[in-house]
């Protein structure tokens, strides 16, 4: 401290929050906690009604259902954090899935197949990234455009061909549904990718740049962030994850045609939004998005398991989605108020 400066403000008198208080504050601030709560309530509620719901096979199914969505939502979340959006993920997933199948059908190895899927994803991600960053044009329009373009290219390429289980090797197929105990390989892969992305976002300059870019693009530019490069990078990441997800889709469903992944973008966007990643950019986490994905797929697994007629499923689905975001919001507001009062008392 420089003693030369006059009018030293008084800091000694301030009550510092205790360690436990701070822990509670941090916990309260974690938006993800609310989501975990909502998911837990839903799962436990279903389990009470139907004891087979959380059996080994049941848990496995839950995780399998979520894995693909988690991957894509993770990539989408990063894009959304930079105040952009990628609506073309469904189309990319479709092409990548077929590319995987095409390689495998032609007798290619699994490694080549995965690389092909990633390459497809990276290529289209790069296309999106270039288009968006080239002119700093609204990503919503651009990626809605590439949604159509990539889907059209897919239909032209695939035509009426399809890849079915008979075209795939047994090893690849068992990768699609096998695993250790109740944890499928696909889910493990998704979790690894998720954590890697999370760590990258939190602990690396490039990751922090993504947040900065979404929080205030103008300020990011003034701070010397290479805006274009970062935008291209997030789109490549998102494309690559969508490509990888396409590969997993192939393994999981063992059936792709030119329509695979249509309309998937809306599910992905809902997962991201439910996961608390704001479309205004700069906030949220990939873990939230992953939880959002888990919540959505859990709802869809839960309803049939409760024996609810399919006629009702969609309405209940929508209702629960609204309920989840509303509860999340109310809880967040309450917490903010509590924290404010607490800090008011500390002054």
């Amino acid at each position: 401290m420089t003693a030369t400066v006059p009018l030293q403000p008084e800091t000694a008198g301030q009550v510092r929050p205790s360690a436990t208080h701070r822990l509670v504050d941090t916990l309260l601030r974690l938006r993800e906690i609310a989501l975990v709560g909502v998911i837990a309530v839903l799962l436990i509620g279903t389990q009470v009604d139907n004891s087979r719901f959380l059996s080994e096979q049941g848990v496995k199914d839950l995780l399998l259902n979520a894995a693909i969505l988690v991957l894509v939502a993770c990539g989408e979340a990063v894009v959304v954090m930079t105040r952009n959006v990628d609506l073309s993920v469904g189309s990319i997933l479709g092409v990548a899935a077929f590319a995987t199948g095409d390689v495998l059908k032609g007798g290619g190895s699994v490694v080549v197949a995965v690389l092909a899927a990633l390459a497809v994803g990276v290529a289209f991600g790069l296309l999106n990234g270039l288009l968006v960053s080239f002119g700093q044009v609204p990503s919503l329009v651009v990626t809605l455009g590439t949604l159509y373009i990539i889907r059209g290219v897919d239909s032209l390429w695939v035509g009426s061909r399809q890849i079915t289980a008979a075209d795939l090797s047994p090893g690849f197929l068992s990768f699609g549904h096998g695993g250790v105990g109740a944890v499928p390989w696909l889910a493990l892969l998704a979790v690894v990718v998720l954590i890697a992305t999370g760590v990258f976002l939190r602990n690396y300059r490039t990751g922090r740049d993504f947040y900065a870019l979404g929080s205030n693009p103008e300020a990011a530019r003034l701070a010397g962030t290479p805006v274009r490069r970062r935008i291209i990078q997030v789109y490549i990441l998102c494309g690559a994850l969508a490509g990888l997800a396409g590969c997993l889709y192939m393994a999981r469903f063992a059936n792709v045609d030119s329509g695979t992944g249509s309309g998937f973008e809306l599910t992905v966007v809902s997962a991201v939004v439910v996961g608390g990643v704001a479309f205004t950019g700069g906030s949220g986490s990939v873990y939230g998005a992953a939880l959002g994905a888990l919540l959505l797929t859990s709802i869809n697994s839960m309803l049939p398991s409760l024996g609810i007629s399919s006629v009702w499923v969609q309405a209940i689905d929508g209702f629960l989605l609204l309920l989840a975001i509303a509860v999340d919001r109310v809880v967040a507001v309450r917490i903010a108020r509590t924290l404010r009062k607490r800090s008011a008392r500390h002054v």
Partner: protein, 340 residues
């Protein structure tokens, strides 16, 4: 099925387009087949392997007869508005006949009547519209045959005991609902007294949804022994789920599927047998019917007879329906003979 109120005659616009009027024109069974006609196929969805096979059949037949084949359609199976505007476009283009698989029994009516009014012959195949909006419906198999035979197939596989469920496509799918009606009726017979239908689930012809519906069935009904899925998307999703789950081999699956889709699951024992008609033949028959209509050999009235190339001779049944024939049952023994 559809609970459409029957005031059809009053809704038909300006009368002239309705089936009754065109059927009252005279048929000349010996009229020569015209050549150079353009017949347009309008499937529920382009790029759908099933429809590509059936329309391919149509193309073969038309080429043989010296006609022009074309296929247009939407890339989504639920884009009814898109299908309507394709009918409109074909009307504008003055094709000779349209062979259409209707996404919606009612929504195409106005447009199809417009087409008929403009002298275009309308054949529906695979999925019908209201009877007064087309001249002939080429039906893949009798709904009754399909419904009953699937139950019989599953009954044999289960030794006639155990809970069963149905995994259908959309709740609105008219043909599915008709089949399910006959399945329920078949189950009333005494030999099925130990088989209980516990649930009809809907997978919306979407792989993921069908998957989750199958999972739900398993969790909800521990004693479930068999599933009938009378839709190609549903049966392959269910098969893929079962083949990778602990229920493989313990729960029997049958229904309607294509041999190519199902080959793997028949071989690995997930599925013992399923059935389907030959979609290629369905398309051929639709094409022959369209040409016969355009050439004036038939008008669409019941009782008329015509020859459909090497498929043989067919007679139009009640309310303008032509039946393709009995479905084929596929199993380990014969599946490798088929490729579609």
């Amino acid at each position: 099925g559809s609970t459409t109120k029957n005031t059809a005659t009053s809704t038909s616009s300006s009368g002239s387009g309705s089936a009754t009027t065109s059927a009252s024109g005279s048929a000349n069974p010996n009229a020569p087949l015209k050549t150079g006609l353009t017949v347009a196929f309008l499937p529920k969805q382009v790029n759908n392997p099933y429809f590509t096979t059936s329309d391919g059949g149509g193309k073969t037949a038309l080429t043989k007869l010296g006609e022009t084949y074309k296929e247009v359609g939407t890339s989504s199976a639920t884009d009814t508005a898109g299908q309507v505007s394709y009918v409109n476009t074909l009307t504008q283009q003055q094709v000779a006949a349209i062979a259409v698989s209707a996404q919606d029994a009612g929504a195409l009516c106005t447009a199809l009547k417009q087409a008929m009014k403009n002298g275009i012959k309308v054949v529906t195949y695979d999925s019908d519209t209201n009877p007064d909006c087309r001249q002939v419906f080429v039906s893949q198999a009798s709904s009754e045959d399909l419904g009953r035979s699937e139950v019989q197939l599953l009954g044999k596989q289960l030794n006639y005991t155990g809970d069963i469920a149905i995994l259908s496509a959309a709740q609105t799918a008219t043909n599915q609902n008709t089949w399910i009606g006959f399945m329920k009726d078949e189950l009333k017979k005494p030999q099925y007294k130990n088989m209980k239908l516990v649930k009809v689930a809907y997978g919306n012809d979407d792989a993921q949804t069908s998957f989750q519906q199958t999972q739900g069935l398993m969790q909800q009904y521990p004693n479930l022994k068999g599933i009938i899925s009378p839709t190609t998307v549903g049966i392959k999703a269910a098969a893929q789920y079962l083949s990778g789950s602990s229920y493989k081999g313990k729960v029997m699956l049958t229904g309607l599927g294509t041999p190519n889709d199902m080959r793997q699951y028949v071989k690995d024992g997930t599925v013992a047998g399923f059935e389907l008609w030959d979609p290629g033949k369905l398309g051929q028959l639709a094409a022959y019917t369209a040409v016969a209509l355009s050439s004036g050999q038939i008008t669409g009235a019941s009782g008329e007879t015509f020859t459909a190339g090497d498929l043989g001779s067919y007679t139009i049944g009640a309310s303008g329906i032509i039946l393709l024939g009995k479905p084929t049952v596929f199993s380990k023994d014969n599946i490798d003979q088929f490729n579609f």
